[in-house]
């Protein structure tokens, strides 16, 4: 895991993370309490990322409303909700991708190692290196397979063994065996599922701590989807993963914790097993049983 600061963040702030929500139970809180000082959190788990009253509006139209929650380290957290509920907007806040959308106004805090990512002294490029992102549609560069993975390393001035890092990244993304004999071929010649795993390898190459995935398998067939889901499970050993998905079965299969968003609000957040079998909030129940509205 990278130890260098996000510009001038304290060198080791992991244990300066805010006090987690009170109570003796070891299970996560299960309701979003917008505006609360104590975000829903898995209390016995170290937080990799935490939001506090995080809100986003697009030119005054609220997309995300005061969401406070904690994402535990080395866990997979899924965000579900109907189209337009704000889950992708929320995800993009976690590595400041919304900075690239001029109309987006973000307020509140995203705490990473105790540092608010939106502080003025934080370098958003470094944020995105530490918190990588994989998008809905595979978007390899029109370059060779090798160069796709090496690109981010070159941009970051990586001084180590490039070939070794490329291989390690491709192996981590479960793609190495399929491409090792054609690393110089164009990435655009790969199948959709392979392209998506290449994008994951590209994200992993710069050694992020957290991987954000926005509908990573929605453009893939069931076999490629299965491989991505297996990969996500494997990656949990080394990374914290936040995934946005329309596919509730996928959320149920791959995630440890699930958050349900509706109209920009966090309705419920808790253990995936429980949320999908016995949700506590009526709106969650209605959504996951298809009786919404």
């Amino acid at each position: 895991m990278p130890e260098e600061p996000l510009v001038d963040i304290q060198a080791d702030t992991a244990d300066t993370a805010p006090e987690e929500a009170g109570g003796a139970s070891g299970s996560p809180s299960t309701s979003g309490s917008p505006g609360a000082d104590t975000p829903p959190v898995a209390r016995d788990l170290e937080a990799a990322l935490e939001t506090r009253t995080l809100s986003v509006d697009y030119d005054g139209d609220t997309a995300v409303s005061e969401i406070s929650l904690s994402i535990p380290r080395n866990r997979i957290v899924a965000f579900i909700g109907p189209s337009g509920c704000g889950k992708s907007t929320f995800l993009r806040c976690l590595n400041r991708m919304n900075d690239l959308i001029p109309a987006a106004n973000v307020s509140g805090e995203v705490l990473f190692r105790g540092k608010n990512l939106y502080d003025s002294d934080v370098d958003p490029v470094e944020v995105r290196r530490r918190i990588g992102m994989v998008f809905q549609k595979p978007n390899p560069f029109p370059k060779s397979i090798y160069e796709n993975v090496a690109f981010g390393l070159r941009v970051n001035g990586y001084q180590g063994d490039l070939e070794e890092r490329v291989e390690t990244s491709l192996r981590a993304a479960a793609l190495w065996d399929e491409v090792k004999d054609r690393l110089e071929d164009s990435a655009l010649g790969l199948s959709g599922g392979q392209q998506q795993r290449l994008c994951i390898a590209r994200a992993l190459a710069v050694e992020p701590e957290i991987l954000l995935m926005d509908e990573p398998a929605s453009a893939l067939d069931p076999i490629a989807t299965g491989r991505i889901e297996d990969l996500i499970e494997d990656l949990k050993q080394d990374y914290t993963i936040v995934i946005v998905t329309h596919n509730m079965q996928q959320a149920a299969r791959v995630s440890d914790l699930t958050a349900f968003l509706y109209m920009g609000e966090l309705v419920e957040f808790g253990d995936t097993d429980r949320l999908f079998t016995n949700p506590r909030e009526q709106r969650t129940e209605q959504y996951i049983t298809g009786r919404f509205g």
């Binding site: 139970s25 999908f276 016995n278 129940e285 209605q286 996951i288 049983t289």
Partner: protein, 237 residues
């Protein structure tokens, strides 16, 4: 497939289970009537009807599995289908116990030796069938409170069964031992019917509240959980 179709299929499945439960309840009533020599049908009829229950159990299970595979239901829908599968299995076993009672009566008839029917057996019959009926009513009405109380009522049935055991041991000194053993078997099967009814009650608690109370003496497996009725209203624990 549209959601209404799923709801319709689920309602149909529930109705099939309830229809089957009526058949099973009837089987139990007829079997115990045979055992207490108040019969209105012959034991062979109970054996024949059991095949219909077995066939229906398989059909309900297949439909439930089909719904799981095609719709991948969640939350209350998932719990409903899982509960139907489990109750279906318990009802089939209750039907088997009715058959066991009928077979014991057949053996008694073959020997021509009838030991005296212990009075506790009548009470066991009343209690066990009451628990079964209330368990099924709790399923229909999503009544977790009634379902939770069935275990305590089953304790009474267990106590009566022990009492029958002692009575029949005494009878064995004077009566045909094999005939007394058949009467004990009948008592044992009634006691097991009550156990299955309690299982159904536990399944109803899971259905309504999402809580597992099996093997916990009626207490929750987890200290947490706030289940709700299907209409979303809170359920008090």
């Amino acid at each position: 497939m549209p959601k209404e179709h799923f709801d319709q299929q689920l309602d149909t499945l529930k109705q099939r289970l309830l229809d089957m439960s009526h058949g099973v309840e009837e089987q139990v009533a007829e079997a115990v009537a045979l055992a207490t020599r108040q019969e209105s049908i012959e034991p062979e009829e109970i054996l024949e009807r059991d095949q219909e229950i077995d066939d229906e159990e398989v059909a309900i299970e297949e439909t439930a599995i089909e719904l799981l595979a095609l719709h991948q239901p969640m939350a209350i829908d998932l719990r409903t289908i899982v509960t139907i599968l489990k109750i279906n299995n318990d009802l089939e076993r209750v039907g088997d116990h009715a058959v066991n009672i009928a077979e014991a009566v057949l053996r008694l008839r073959e020997k021509g030796e009838y030991p005296p029917v212990p009075p506790q057996l009548e009470e066991m019959n009343r209690l066990a069938r009451g628990i079964l009926r209330d368990a099924l009513d709790a399923f229909v009405n999503l009544d977790a409170e009634t379902a939770r109380q069935l275990g305590a009522r089953d304790d009474e049935v267990d106590a009566l069964h022990e009492s029958v055991f002692r009575v029949m041991l005494t009878h064995m000194l004077d009566e045909d031992i094999s005939a007394c053993l058949q009467m004990l078997l009948i008592s044992r099967n009634i006691e097991r019917i009550a156990d299955h009814a309690v299982n159904i009650g536990e399944d109803v608690v899971y259905l309504v509240q999402g809580r597992t109370i099996r093997h916990t003496g009626g207490k929750d497996e987890e200290g947490e959980g706030g289940g709700r009725q299907r209409d979303g209203s809170p359920v008090s624990a």
